[in-house]
């Protein structure tokens, strides 16, 4: 009736009961040890039950050894991936959240792969068929997923390089890269016999080179100009430097193309150091621009002079928060080079007062355009 295993586990249960009783009476019933020992009773009893239920999994004859197809499981990549995911999750918990998120992704991906492999390994007795069903279930996800990950990595590495080297160097670098890719493509196309062997050399080498270059770039940091720009807070959305040039690098990367033609109510132009304005639908110059109150309105600035200019809109002044400090209101475009354009989109809730009229000006150029908000 009772097998060896169950006898052992029943003995363990009994001893745990004795220990628990001893503990309850001699030590302290509300101590953590008491509950741990109760847990031990539960666990040992569970194992006893399973031992009796499975009869120690004893088999005397071959016939009793049913469903005996268990060969050694095939090699699997996923246990280490899952362990790595777990380690990343924990590392992320203690350090960077991004590592945690990546770890979760690795964990989920590895877990799903493991699950499918575990199923497909025994889908049939035929190994080839099994790997085929595995591929059928996961192939449609694996390849795109893997290439997406690879693309992200490659893009990330390239971006590190872009950010680290100077603009000119980056241009030359990528011209060279493109040339090399073109040349290699040509060689591969021409020499079909080489392809496989060469590819197996070229791909790892180029990926390794990219990785090295990327890591080195990442470690060496972004190029000085960008670092300075970050220090000057140029990437903040509200950063506007409308007066004298205080910072060195602000505006160097302005996007000077304007896609919003249909939204533009007026165009302000600087030509020969003179500011002039035209309103949409009116084919002559105006010295006043009227824009509806509390409506998002766009004004285009076009610089036709050699020197870089910016359009500044002056919107009176206001107190800062609850303090008594009064600061001028207004904003401006980024610096705009010759023949380039920028837009300013304004939503003005209140009209100007007689003391503080609104206007558009261009520092360094003559004239101003009155801005009227009814």
């Amino acid at each position: 009736m009772f097998t060896t295993g169950s006898k052992y586990f029943i003995g363990l249960t009994a001893l745990s009961v004795v220990a628990t009783v001893l503990y309850l009476f001699l030590v302290n019933p509300s101590d953590l040890g008491a509950l741990a020992l109760v847990g031990l009773i539960t666990s040992a009893a569970t194992l006893s039950g399973v031992s009796i239920f499975t009869r120690d999994s004893d088999t005397e004859t071959v016939e009793q050894a049913v469903d005996a197809s268990a060969g050694p499981a095939s090699a699997s990549f996923w246990p280490i991936v899952v362990a790595l995911g777990a380690a990343m999750v924990l590392l992320g918990l203690a350090t960077e959240p991004v590592v945690f998120v990546l770890g979760i992704a690795v964990l989920v991906g590895g877990g799903v792969e493991w699950m499918v492999q575990g199923w497909s390994d025994r889908a049939s007795a035929n190994a080839a068929y099994n790997s085929e069903v595995r591929a059928k279930v996961l192939g449609g996800i694996e390849y795109p997923g893997l290439s997406a990950v690879l693309t992200i990595i490659v893009a990330f590495l390239f971006s590190r390089i872009f950010l680290a080297v100077s603009k000119d160097a980056a241009t030359i670098f990528f011209m060279l890269v493109a040339a090399v890719i073109f040349a290699l493509g040509f060689v591969f196309a021409a020499r079909t016999d080489l392809r496989k062997k060469a590819l197996s050399v070229v791909l790892p080498v180029s990926i390794a080179l990219l990785a090295i270059a990327g890591v080195v770039s990442a470690l060496s940091g972004e190029r000085k100009q960008l670092v300075d720009a970050a220090r000057e807070d140029h990437f903040a959305i509200e950063h506007r430097e409308c007066g004298e040039e205080a910072s060195k690098y602000y505006d160097k990367h302005a996007n000077n193309r304007v896609p919003l033609r249909k939204a533009v109510i007026a165009t302000i132009t600087v030509e020969n150091n003179e500011v002039s304005a035209k309103m949409i639908g009116l084919d002559r110059k105006v010295d006043t621009i009227t824009i509806p109150r509390m409506n998002s309105t766009t004004v285009l600035f076009r610089n036709l002079d050699d020197s870089e200019r910016r359009l500044v809109v002056n919107l009176g002044s206001a107190k800062v928060g609850d303090t008594d400090v009064v600061e001028p209101l207004g904003t401006c475009t980024q610096l705009t080079g010759k023949g380039q354009e920028q837009v300013l989109t304004l939503t003005i809730p209140k009209p100007a007062t007689a003391e503080e009229p609104f206007s558009f000006t261009v520092p360094g150029a003559n004239g101003e355009i009155k801005l009227v908000v009814p």
């Binding site: 249909k262 939204a263 533009v264 109510i265 309103m279 949409i280 639908g281 009116l282 084919d283 006043t288 621009i289 009227t290 824009i291 509806p292 109150r293 509390m294 409506n295 998002s296 309105t297 766009t298 809730p349 209140k350 009209p351 007062t353 009155k370 009227v372 908000v373 009814p374």
Partner: protein, 405 residues
Amino acid sequence: MDTVSRVKSSRRRILGTLVGIAASATLAGCAQNAPQDTWEPKGPNAEMIHDLDNLVFPIAYVVGIIVLGLALYIFWKFKDRGQEIPVQGHGKPYMEITLTVVPALILSVVGVFTFRTIFDLAETQDTEIVINVTGQQWWWEYDYPVQPEHGINQPIVTSGQLVFPAGTKVLLRETSRDVIHSYWIPALNGKKDAVPGRVHLLRLEANEPGLYAGQCAEFCGLSHANMRMEAIALSKEDFAKWVANQQKAYVPPAAGTVEAEGEAVYIAQCARCHQVNGLKDAQGKPIISAPDEYVYSGAAPNLTALMTRNTFAGAMFDLVNEKCRADVWGAPSEKFGEAYLKGVTEDCLNQKDLRAWLRNAPEMKPMYAEPNLLGPSDGKYRGMPYLALTEDDIDKLVAYLLTLK
């Protein structure tokens, strides 16, 4: 027997319906008082469209009749009488080519004229006056940019009625503060959408002074149907008078009068959203409204010289009573300016609607389906809210508003 009679009766019913529809469609064409009739152009732009219609519609009628006739003929000729199914062929090149080439030719003819008209309508080189038109739920704001050649030295903001000189090429710059609206005065031009963040141009020109009615033509919310507009064309002289009147300085009511009390009520209750140019508070500081804090669209009609307008609440209600209204609408072209510029006098005022509006605006004009649920609009109102004014306050307010001429 029974079956047959039932079939007959159902046929009769269908026939009756068809005849009814045709008759009402025909009779509608005979309407006398149809201010938004697209077939009665009153300005060069609408005439261009009308001329194009005169070309395109006959062609379309002919094509339509041919196609319909052929279809009916084929229905009748080949209807199922139990005959054998004809041989199913595949393609008749000559017929197919013909059926492709003929419509293409027709379309090219129509297209040439259509494109010409479209380009003509889009012309803005010779604009004489510019007016900004801004749509919001559910009224139109008109503001006149500073244009000294028209005597406009400070911006004029009005609403409900677009006033412009007749015989002058007017350019509307349309935009919107909330959703897409569409500006449409059928007698003067086609419709043009007003889209938030964009500026669309629409040319208007009236041959004669007069009143031209219109209607927002893009579904824009609960009171879309109540979003009307009236375009008022005045002779150049009358327009200059109107401009001068709009720009004249604000005259506060004499102290101690009921109008002065009304002004106080106005400042307390209305000035939060409604601007009256020149209105000053006790310290003598100009009062500037802040509708952006209360209203979803961020705007409320400017009430300066309110009594020069004939309508209020997005042209939904008349500001004048029926008799005075008939005087303006019925005035002949040469007398129209005089009638319009009279404005709203005390005996002309439509007391009933204006008071009801002040009493409880949301009841007069559907603004939000469920007034308690202002959530989706960030807790701001769409349109004028219920202000819980006392009758006494309303009396004072009406008296004050009558001074805004």
